[in-house]
Amino acid sequence: MLNVTEIRRQFPILQRETLHGARLVYLDSTATSQKPLAVIEAMNTYYRRSNANIHRGVHTLAEEATALYEEAREKIARFINAPSARQIIYTRNTTEAINLVAYSWARANLKAGDLVILTEMEHHSNLVPWQMLQAERGIELDFIPVTEAGLLDLDAYQTLLTRTPKLVAFTHMSNVLGTINPAADIIRLAHAAGAVTLVDAAQSVPHLKVDVQALDADFLAFSAHKMCGPTGIGALYGKADLLEAMPPFLGGGDMIKEVKLRTFRPNSLPHKFEAGTPAIAEAVGFGAAVDYLTSIGMDAIAAHEHEITAYAIERLEEIPGIKVFGPHANYKGGVAAFTLDGIHPHDVAQILDKNGIAIRAGHHCAQPLHEKFGIPATSRASFYLYNTKEEVDLLVNGIYEVKQMFG
């Protein structure tokens, strides 16, 4: 059991009031999480005490900054059980991590006609890079269908695998339906068919214990800002042999071993993929976020979220005219996307905001998934370690108020 009262004290923003004088009820952590004091202070202290550019500097500050930057990488590696920190590449976010694979690995390994399997529940960040590659290279894309219940159709997946795909890239947890996909099974089947795998773990790493070795993932991408860390930094995990064989992504300083006027030799891992001055303070914040989550315990966080989500779905489904999307709470993370008959999600979100309740409305960067369900948009409430059942009650009361206004 989490001590949510104590956890909430660690998040300064949760103490504030909204524009309209209401207490903030933050139900939008799937978009970005709030940040605990430990993270804010780690970044603050870095700028107050240790700020310098990393690597090659020999003065005290440069050495401290480099050590902090690299220690954070080691913390992140341990957090997802990566065999070594050199397999953690800092990126700007999950999107950039996926693009790194699309630009470096895929352009070196895929040719016209090669099949890439995605799913119908992907975020735009795991669709558009592959569509761009399709336009450039003539690769083929196909999609594991989503069932009415909001689960991946694994029988259809097995059929797709008979077409010998080169890559299977899929979300570990849907940012709309909340569905937690059976990643280990998907990867095992992909490997048996000879495909490389890429896991979009933007929603799973913040909320579940993720072990890249147990999953046997080839690539796995996630962002700091959804897991109590700062914006502007994320990570790509990759298997060492794949990363070693890949050409560099962006060219510039720090990613080189040696530069002549006409040639260069790339640096070793992980620096080969980190050109230019990186987000150093953000890396420090990322490391602090990982420490914070570890101190609470990922299993306890997942259990708390499950309890809140199951309660939220039960309460929401009491409301006449509501439709909650996605599978049963046992198969999903802390997300509840819904529609209300006759009321547009933007209106729902706007009216709830007057009561201090922050939810998201729109297609949540998953337009094809919304088209599949025949709806332009949904309202989405999402939950994290700091949310309470009382907040779910406030949400439900707020929705009744919305219905009354449109009554």
Binding site: G362, P376, M405, F406
Partner: protein, 131 residues
């Protein structure tokens, strides 16, 4: 919220007077708000004298976008196209009688963007049309 969801907005959203499609029509244009998926299409019949004889809108979206469209259509019937070319965002804000933040302003202005792109015979509706 009483401001943003004044009775007039809820009323025009729930019971629009000008929802539909004119057949035949002289001007047609449609566009989306990519952020929220709001969709508006407008059809108009224009007389030889350049006066809008009749107009309708269709589409889906939030109360702000749909009520704005209904109010806008109501305000242009019987007006010369020349006058429609001069309309800007203030016209919509006057019709709604409220102030809007930047996100909801896009919802409110979608119908005017579509209308002006249609009147100018443009290929696409840009934000500059309603500044």
């Amino acid at each position: 919220m009483d401001d943003l969801y004044r009775e007039i907005i809820i009323e025009h959203y729930k019971h629009p007077s000008y929802r539909g499609k004119l057949e035949p029509h002289d001007i047609y244009f449609a566009d989306n708000n990519p952020l929220c998926g709001d969709h508006i299409e407008i059809t108009m019949q224009v007389g030889a004298d350049g006066v809008i004889k009749d107009a309708r809108f269709d589409g889906h979206g939030c109360a702000i976008s749909q009520a704005s469209a209904d109010l806008l259509i109501e305000s242009i019937i019987g007006k010369p196209l020349e006058e429609v070319r001069q309309l800007n965002k203030q016209h919509i804000l006057d019709l709604l009688g409220i102030d809007l933040g930047p996100v909801r302003l896009k919802c409110a202005l979608l119908s005017l963007k579509v209308l002006k792109a249609g009147v100018y015979g443009l290929g696409e509706a840009s934000d500059e049309l309603v500044e």
